[in-house]
Structure formats: structure tokens, C-alpha cells
């Protein structure tokens, strides 16, 4: 019996020893934008490989979800594909949280249609009309007689907010726009629907959909989205991707953010299909 007790004691010591070892590790939770998700996941994997003992959990859900989690204290870092809204800044202030911001990459938003659609170019004004529901048929913008079906991200998405601000000049989406929970769902739906139109991050564009060239100078020049055009600023629908964190979480968050902004981290940005922040 004495022997058994000794064994149990040793087992307990080993178990608690392992546990305290685990607890000594740094754990970071990153929550938010689905646009940032593939990039930050990749960055986290690489960071963890070269920094043993660091555990990073990356969860999507949308920019709004990440920012709300940062306010609640349920995440250390929020990923966002849009800047903070004034109401969110006021809530952060109310919670006594001083916010730090890092722009880790840029993302070009591509306007996509079904490959069977003959339309190649659209001006900002035409996009405004299409996505707000004023233009309902492709023949109104030089296409064939076919009903336009608008696909958008849902309201918690930063992409939804950014497109609304930048392209629709803060007007609301058409009431019959189909709100999709993820970018992949938009690609799939547009590839299967002839009259469909939507917007997705450049990194997601593939051969199953056709990209539209856009003009923000009333039709003088039409530019396709590409790494080069986003980098030289000739493509107009480009947004920064953010990581937000609070002063209190800075010690834990800073090494990872420094890694993302390093040459190695920025190479990953390019590899994943986003635009690096280096000049």
C-alpha cells in the first residue's frame, strides 16, 4: 500500500509538473476577419515553428466579431479588414482600453461575375447602381438582357463595410442582395449563376469566375485588380488589413506582430496572395 501511495505521489508530481510547464507557455488568441484568416493562420504556423512554446489560436467570424471580442477581453488580438468605427472607438474608450493598430497587409477587392457574362468593364457609378439595386439588368451596363443577381458578404464582415464605404459611398446594399457567410460561398454561387455579381478579395479569385475591370474616373481608365496594380495604386479598391490589440496585451502580442511585419512575414503575405506593406 505504501508503495502504491508513493507511485501515486510520483504520478501526481509528474502530472502537475507537465501542467505547470504547459502553463508557462505563451498562448495568444486571434479572432476576427475571415479575409485575414488564411494569412494570419499561415503566419501563426510559421511563427510557432520558429518560436517553441508559443501557442497561437486563430479563429474567424468577421471583423465585427473580432473587435467585439477584443472589447469583451475574449481575444488578445482582433483581425479586421476595416478600420474601427467611431462607435467602437467610443466603446473601447468606455472600457478604458487604449488600442494599438498594426497594418499587416493590403487587399485588393475584385468585382467578379459569371464567366458567361460578356460585360468586361464597370465604372464606380455603375457598380453603385448595381449593388444598391438601381440597375437591375445587365443590358443597362452594356450586357445582355439578363437580371442582375447581387451577392454580398453579411453585415458583420469588414469586406461588406469597406465595399459599402468605398464603392457605394455609404449607401445601403439592395434589399434583395444575397448575403453570404463566407467568400468561398460567393465564388461558388457566382460560378453557378449566369447573372450574378459580387466582390471578393484578390487572393480568392480563380478560373471559375470572371473579374471585371473597374474605373473610378468616370470611365477614362479601366483597371483590373492585380498585385502590381494594387501596389502602384492604379487599382482603386484596395484596403488595409489590420491587427488590433490593447496596451495590456502588448507584451504577448508584439513578438507575433513584429514577425508578421518582418521580411519573412511579408514574404508570406505575398505568397498567400495579399499585398505586402513594404514600399
Amino acid at each position: 500500500m505504501k508503495n502504491l501511495n508513493r507511485k501515486l505521489l510520483i504520478a501526481l508530481c509528474i502530472f502537475t509538473g507537465i501542467n505547470s510547464g504547459i502553463n508557462a507557455q505563451t498562448k495568444i488568441t486571434i479572432k476576427g476577419s475571415d479575409t485575414c484568416l488564411p494569412l494570419v493562420q499561415k503566419e501563426a504556423e510559421k511563427f510557432m515553428k520558429s518560436n517553441k512554446g508559443q501557442t497561437i489560436t486563430v479563429i474567424g467570424g468577421g471583423s465585427g466579431v473580432g473587435i467585439a471580442a477584443l472589447m469583451d477581453g475574449t481575444t488578445d488580438i482582433a483581425m479586421s479588414s476595416r478600420a474601427l468605427k467611431m462607435d467602437e472607438k467610443l466603446k473601447m474608450q468606455e472600457a478604458g482600453k487604449a488600442l494599438k493598430t498594426a497594418i499587416i497587409a493590403y487587399d485588393a477587392l475584385s468585382v467578379i461575375i459569371n464567366p458567361a457574362n460578356k460585360v468586361d468593364n464597370l465604372t464606380r457609378e455603375q457598380l453603385d447602381g448595381i449593388f444598391t439595386g438601381k440597375i437591375k439588368n445587365w443590358k443597362e451596363v452594356g450586357g445582355e438582357d439578363m437580371k442582375i443577381i447581387v451577392y454580398s458578404r453579411e453585415t458583420s464582415s469588414g469586406t461588406y463595410e469597406f465595399f459599402k464605404e468605398k464603392v457605394l459611398m455609404n449607401k445601403n446594399y439592395a434589399s434583395d442582395a444575397l448575403m453570404m457567410p463566407a467568400t468561398g460561398a460567393i465564388i461558388q454561387s457566382i460560378s453557378q449563376t449566369k447573372g450574378a455579381v459580387g466582390y471578393v478579395g484578390l487572393a480568392y479569385v480563380d478560373a471559375s469566375v470572371k473579374e471585371i475591370k473597374v474605373s473610378f474616373d468616370k470611365g477614362k481608365t479601366f483597371t483590373p485588380s492585380s498585385y502590381e496594380n494594387a501596389k502602384n495604386k492604379s487599382y482603386p479598391i484596395v484596403r488595409p488589413l489590420f491587427l488590433f490589440y490593447t496596451n495590456k496585451a502588448e507584451a504577448a502580442a508584439k513578438p507575433f506582430i513584429d514577425y508578421v511585419l518582418s521580411a519573412e512575414g511579408q514574404k508570406t503575405v505575398k505568397d498567400v496572395g495579399y499585398i505586402d506593406v513594404s514600399k
Binding site: 469583451d72 467611431m86 472607438k89 474608450q93 445601403n172
Partner: protein, 434 residues
Amino acid sequence: MKKLKYFLTSALIIVLIIPAIAQEETSDTTAATLSKIMSDLEILKRIKITGYFQAQFQYADSSGMNSFGGGSFPAFTDKRISLRRGRIKSTYTSNDALTNAVFQIDATERGIVVNDVRLKFTDPWIQWFSLQAGLQDRPFGFEVTYSSSMSETPERGRMSQIIFPNERDLGAELIIQGPKTGNWNWLKVEAGIFNGSGAPSATSSAAEFDKYKDFISRITASRTTINQKYKYSIGFSYYDGGYRTDNDTSFKSGTDASGIEGFIIDKTNLKNKKVNRNYAGADMQFTFESPAGITTLRAEYIQGRQPALSSTTAFATSAPVSNVYFRKFNGAYFYFIQNIASTPLQAVIKYDWYDPNTDAKGDELGKVLTGGKVYSATDVRYDTWGFGITWLWDSNLKFMAYYDFIKNETSANLSGYTKDLKDNLFTLRIQYKF
């Protein structure tokens, strides 16, 4: 050897298959349990319990002074520790978010008072129209409807506390506002019918005592610029109501034969008739961001005509048995709120005035007139400057230090008001919100 083979095969079956069967059963049970937990969680998410407690230490300029900083001080007392508010609120929101019910109490050392018992229903078709009924905030002005837990100062201004004590009343209101994702969400119209007798308090049941109902309305517009750097809002409010008096006589401002200002008789057959109260107000807020931090400027002006008593300008909570005095009043407040860069500190400067009788000025107060009633201490105007600093510890906790410099109107003819009263107040408060 055969025996060994048989033994090894049996062992393999036991080691591999039995746990697999057990795992499958466990997995089914886990899935069912998880599904039940998720379903229960969905139901629980509809119920929200929130609240806040405010405990404070106050140091008054003089013992037993009258105060609007959480009530007057008892005689011989110039320092006190009190529980200013102890709010517990439960909210149930339906699954489709189209109906909700709120119940809120205020539990302090002074007792337990019911603050809110209200329900709200939003139309399911276009979600523009909501009906809210029960004991609720009166939809008038900004300060009255702004939560005490959010307030940058310990108390609302003197005018708000006198005109709308306890902020709430029994009634029903229609709210018109576009859905959050719509183009018109920035505009809100509220209009309602209320008893007019206010909310219950530790000293008043606030039961209705007449057949007259009050109409209250408010329209607000609130926008944020596309770059999310500026937010602005404006609002206009209107109140049209009144209550029954149990006395025949009313007085209004005027002059006697020798030109002395004071109250003169207005009407003499008022018993069981309605005396009217009317207010109108405008408010604005402007918030912007700069390297110094987020700054908010806020202002509100209210004017109107108040039927009350000689001893108070507050509205009646029961039919008055003594003479009714009609006074034209006005008041305003201005806030400058500065969050100090990226620190958790917030500084505030507030100026407010309340003039309960705009016809009574300076030495006219207390001057005896023939055949009328003198302007008394009730008619004295007050100007208040407040300075405070708040440490926003986290989303739950905040500490506030605030000082009120209160300046009253003086009159050579009004005893006790020939000079400024010693009624400044220091408040040190801790608030926990959950």
C-alpha cells in the same frame, strides 16, 4: 503456439474493436448532449442580466446643505458615504429580436424601487415601427434618457432632476426608426402618451391622480462621417401636458400698482381643472478624434412653462391643494469631455444653469408687492461649473472624482440669498458595471 495465436487474436479484438464500439456509442451520446447544451444555450442567450453599483464619498461645503448631488445632506452632516445607485436589470429578447421585456430595480440603503417594467414590440414586416409600453424613460431630451452608468458626471443637471425626477413615467410610445442595416437608421422619431405623474420613488408611489395625459415627443438624427472620425447628432423634444389642481387660485408673474415685480393672481376658479405644462428643447452632440484623444462636446437647452407650488418648481405627484404658481423657466448644460490620448483617463468640464423663473431677476427676488406673492428662494437661478476626472479601469470598473462649484443668484431683498450659499460639493465615486 495455437493457444498463443488464439490469445493474441482475442487480445487484438479486445484492444481495437471494443474501444471502437465504445467510442462510437460515446460519440453519439456526446453529439446528443452537445446538441441539448447548444439548444439550452440559445434559450439562455435570450435572457440578459446586467446592472451597476455606485458607491460614493461626498464632502459638502456646509453641514445640512441642500444638494442635487444625490440628495440634500442631513442636518449636522457634511460628509457621507452612500450607495447612490444599485441597479439590476433583466432583459428577455425573443429569438427573432422583435419583442423584448425589461425589468429593472434600484436597490440601495434607502430601499428598493422599481425603475423599469416595460415591453417592446417591433413590427415583423418592415421593422420600422415599435411600440413600447410600461414604466420607462420619458422620450424628452438627451440627459434624461442617457444612462447614469455611462454618464461622465455623477448626476444629471439641476434642471433635469427638477423637471423630470427619476427620469421615468408610465405610458406607451411609438418609436419609428429604420432597421440597423437600412439607409434611414440615423433618424429616430418617438411619440408617446404618459400619465405625467412620474416614476415611483422612495417617497412617492407615482400613481395617476387625474384623467389628463401628457404627450411627449422627440426626433433625433445621428450620423458618423465615412472616415469614422466625426460623429454628430441633434435632437428636438416637445412636451405638452398638465394635471388637475385641487385649489381654485393660480398666480403668474406680474407687477403691482407701484410697478414691483412678483406673483399676481392669474385665475380663481381652477379647482378640478387642468393646469398646463409645456416644454421644448434642443440638444446636440459632436464627437471627434485627434492625437489628443476622443473629444465630445454636448449641449442641451430647454425652456417652458411650469405649473408648480410656491415652495418648489418640480411638477406635482398629487393634485395640489395649495395655490398653483405658473413660471416660465429655462436652462441648459454644456459638456466638454476629453479622453486623454491613449490613457484610460477621461476629463470633463460641465457648465449648467437652471432659471426656474425667467421673470424674476436679482433684487426683485424677495421684494414685497401689494396684493400679490413675493418671488422666493424657489425662484432663484443657479449656475453650476463642474470639473471631474474619471479613471476607466476596464469595461466593469471606473473611479470618478468630481467637484461642483455652485453659484446662486443673489438679492438684497431675499433673506438667506444676499450672498452665494456655501453649497459646493466634492464627490468620489466607484462604479462597477456588469
